[in-house]
């Protein structure tokens, strides 16, 4: 009960401030919260990153393993990206199988990277149709303060950029690990997702947890290093006008460029 009264009061305040173009934490409408990206935080994983976006925190690890290719896709390696909200991240999170929100989160993060062709999967084939290299990118949310889409996306991108790919050689047609030898991942571009919320027809960038609860709808737009748009996902109950969607794409391109500069600082980030 108390929670919902507090929530209602907070919503009122957020709406009142937005009328004047102000946000509850003092940010500008198109301003990201402070973003820090640390890589190599899980030395046993082939790649890893911890991302803090305001008070949202995500740890991401990349495991790189031999695998069989998907049927009909025998000429490319495997990329799979997941996300999980750990129960210690949020008093309302429940341990157990992912609900539809978490499934959407994981699929949107996965698609943003996949559709940008960030990783040239054709370079991860050992034996066509039989043996390929797989990158498994797992995001674990450790602290929740809204906008997991972007936090997980940045963590995934930083982990992939900075990962080291083990070397397998064919010995008698059997892929065999060459210990100690690694190479950089075949990355081509840096996709950057920018998530915007719409509250009473005002568009805000990177909504925090309080804003997330008040949003009428949201949109995540991912751009690549060329400044082109490579993935979109609209969510939430309300619709957008055409003009709002065009405006959101412009915000995504300009804000994405700034975030890309941060991600370029990551080891391996200057390549793309």
């Amino acid at each position: 009960m108390n929670t919902s009264i507090i929530d209602a009061l907070k919503k009122k305040k957020i709406l009142a401030l937005l009328k004047n173009g102000q946000r509850i934490d003092g940010r500008a409408l198109d301003e990201l919260r402070p973003l820090t990206v640390d890589t190599g935080v899980i030395p046993k994983a082939e790649g890893s990153a911890r991302v803090r976006l305001g008070d949202t925190e995500v740890v991401c690890g990349v495991k790189i393993q031999l695998d069989k290719p998907f049927p009909d896709l025998g000429d490319r390696g495997i990329f799979i990206c997941t996300a999980e909200i750990l129960p210690l991240a949020d008093p309302n999170a429940e341990p157990g199988p992912p609900n539809e929100e978490v499934i959407e989160l994981a699929r949107v993060v996965d698609r943003g990277i996949r559709e940008s062709h960030m990783i040239d999967l054709t370079k991860l084939v050992l034996i066509k149709d039989k043996s390929v290299i797989g990158l498994f990118v797992d995001n674990s949310v450790t602290d929740y303060d809204g906008n997991l889409f972007d936090a997980c996306s940045y963590a995934s991108v930083a982990s992939v950029l900075s990962c080291k790919v083990p070397k397998w050689e064919l010995k008698n047609d059997v892929p065999t690990l060459v210990p100690g030898e690694v190479s950089d991942p075949p990355t081509t571009t840096i996709p950057v997702s920018v998530t915007m919320g719409k509250i009473a027809d005002t568009i805000i960038v990177d909504p925090n947890a309080d804003e997330w609860k008040c949003m009428d709808s949201r949109i995540t737009i991912t751009t690549n290093s060329d400044g082109n748009i490579c993935a979109v996902q609209k969510g939430g109950e309300d619709g957008f006008t055409f003009d709002q969607l065009v405006k959101c794409s412009e915000i995504s391109i300009s804000t994405g460029a700034k975030i890309r500069e941060i991600l370029k600082q990551v080891p391996g980030g200057n390549k793309c």
Partner: protein, 244 residues
């Protein structure tokens, strides 16, 4: 997008696509309302090779009860593919893809349904894909919106959905399966034609900022074409002589 390449000519020099359509031409669309006896509302759509059935129950009591909302009704949506609806037999358990599509379809319909009119209840929308083709989520949405109207659920507006995409460096309406496999981008859009609001938009594939705008406009035009077919289906059901 675009992971497989083949010899198909996606767009010839006369602007004709691999299935004979023009750039701004949707596939054949047929919708029939009121096709099921048990459901409170229902619709069947054929959209290209898509064959999809939608059924609606409600407003009715919510089970389990703690899901009910005292302020307004809730909408639930399930998008589900039959095992025989695709090339390789599909496991009948819902995949993660189906769960995500169920969620975006629900969110595309929610603002059209006047849920504030029936607190504590639920409206269940069940969508069954009998045969899948490119653009099945848009076709599913189109059938679901007609089924909601057929059930007499009060609605603010219709919801009409159609995709646009990029094929052979050109923005085209309503991309089909081959264009989806070998094209450059696919953007499904749902639109409330009178309120002029976009309630679903997704994109897979790369577009410039200009192409993105063009693609949105093209898809919205498609939604308006679909809207006419939806209206006709409801008219046929309620006013037409409609021998089944």
């Amino acid at each position: 997008m675009g992971v497989r390449k083949s010899d198909i000519v996606l767009l010839d020099d006369k602007g004709i696509r691999c299935d004979g359509r023009k750039i701004d031409e949707p596939r054949h669309i047929m919708i029939k309302a009121g096709v099921l006896k048990n459901a409170n509302g229902s619709a069947y759509i054929e959209f290209g090779e898509n064959k999809i059935l939608a059924g609606v129950f409600g407003p009715r009591d919510v089970h389990p009860k703690h899901l009910a909302n005292t302020d307004r009704g809730i909408l639930r949506c399930r998008y589900h593919m039959q095992p025989f609806s695709v090339g390789e037999r599909k496991n009948p358990a819902p995949s993660r893809r189906e769960i995500e599509i169920s969620k975006v379809i629900k969110e595309a319909l929610e603002s059209a349904v006047m849920l504030e009119n029936f607190p504590r209840t639920v409206v269940d929308v069940y969508i069954e894909v009998l045969q899948a083709d490119g653009g099945s989520r848009c076709a599913a949405l189109d059938a679901a919106a007609v089924a909601l109207a057929d059930a007499g659920i009060p609605m603010r507006d219709m919801v009409s959905a159609c995709a646009a995409g990029k094929v052979a460096d050109t923005i085209v309406l309503d991309i089909n399966n081959e264009e989806d496999q070998e094209g450059q981008a696919d953007m499904p859009v749902a639109y409330m034609p009178n309120l002029e609001k976009i309630t679903l938009v997704q994109l897979d594939g790369v577009l410039t900022a200009q192409e993105y705008k063009k693609c949105l406009e093209t898809a919205i035009n498609g939604c308006k074409i679909v809207y006419e077919v939806q209206k006709k289906a409801l008219k046929d059901k309620f006013f037409g002589d409609n021998p089944q």
